[in-house]
Amino acid sequence: MEIGEAQDTRFQEREWRVQRAGWVALAVFVIGATLGLFGPGPLSLSSVASSEGTLQVQYYRFARLGRDAMVTVTVAPDVVSDGVVDVWWNSPYLDEMKVNGVTPEPETVTGIDERVRYAFAAHPGDELTITFDLTPDGMWSKRAEIAVGDGTERVTYDQFIYP
């Protein structure tokens, strides 16, 4: 059957090849998403600890703009001094986040230089776990620096925020 211009076997074969390749790419993308490569989820959850182990931070390696990505900071008991624990964040990172809430509530929040200090009341001898409920307000690669106490115990993590 001749349908003229509309019929071009080579083009059609090529189109089908491209289509099949597209399916594979789509499957890879969806599997990647299931593995937590494209957003916060059980598989993109990571943790990092300071050299002495007194500071442990659990965060999401991959996050999304406008979607909650909690950060959990665990402080060992020996950093508590005078019933207060200071947790320091670098401002460049925190500025790109919307802080929805901090549990437990900090006593004070102070901005000093390029950092933000959260002071928490703590029970001496007890480990303190703080949850920062953050929602990214910026995109792409971000670096967070968290320090505790006088700042010697610190932790850095890199996070990629998808649009």
């Binding site: 993308f29 969806v30 598989l43 999304r64 998808y162």
Partner: protein
């Protein structure tokens, strides 16, 4: 990961629900059927996106749905007998000029529906002009006129 699971769960649920609702709903025979499908779309949105309005989430959800659809069609191709569970079978409504009352009743299609389709697709005037009328798998009615 949960976006993928949510999309798959909703796809599966909608599939089952529409499969059991029958072919009439698919074909949107009445205005109400049409309205129903419209608002189901709205109800689905919340479940699919949750509170994540990022572009990435839209990509993941849409990608998962399309992939599920492609996978379904490939499975049906590989296992043709599966086809009847997924799509159903065509139903004969008028067989050689004779109405198949039992089928029409079960499929919830009445004479007026068939006549409407006969007028639209073949320009026929009367039921006598219809040789065969078949309710196809997608819910549309196909007419073979008496020549």
């Amino acid at each position: 990961m949960d976006a993928v699971l949510r999309a798959l769960a909703i796809y599966a649920f909608l599939f089952v629900v529409f499969r059991i609702s029958g072919k009439r709903t698919l074909a949107q025979i009445t205005t109400f059927d049409f309205v129903l499908l419209l608002i189901i779309g709205e109800a689905t949105q919340q479940g699919l996106l949750g509170d994540d309005f990022s572009v990435m989430n839209a990509f993941v959800v849409i990608g998962t749905l399309i992939l599920a659809d492609i996978a379904m069609s490939l499975v049906q191709q590989r296992f043709p007998s599966l086809g009847r569970f997924v799509e159903g079978l065509p139903v004969v409504l008028i067989d050689n000029g004779e109405k198949v009352e039992h089928h029409m009743k079960k499929a919830r299609v009445d004479e007026a529906d068939i006549l409407e389709r006969a007028r639209q697709s073949q320009g026929l005037e009367r039921l006598d002009d219809v040789k065969f009328a078949v309710l196809e798998r997608d819910g549309s009615i196909s007419i073979v006129p008496r020549s």
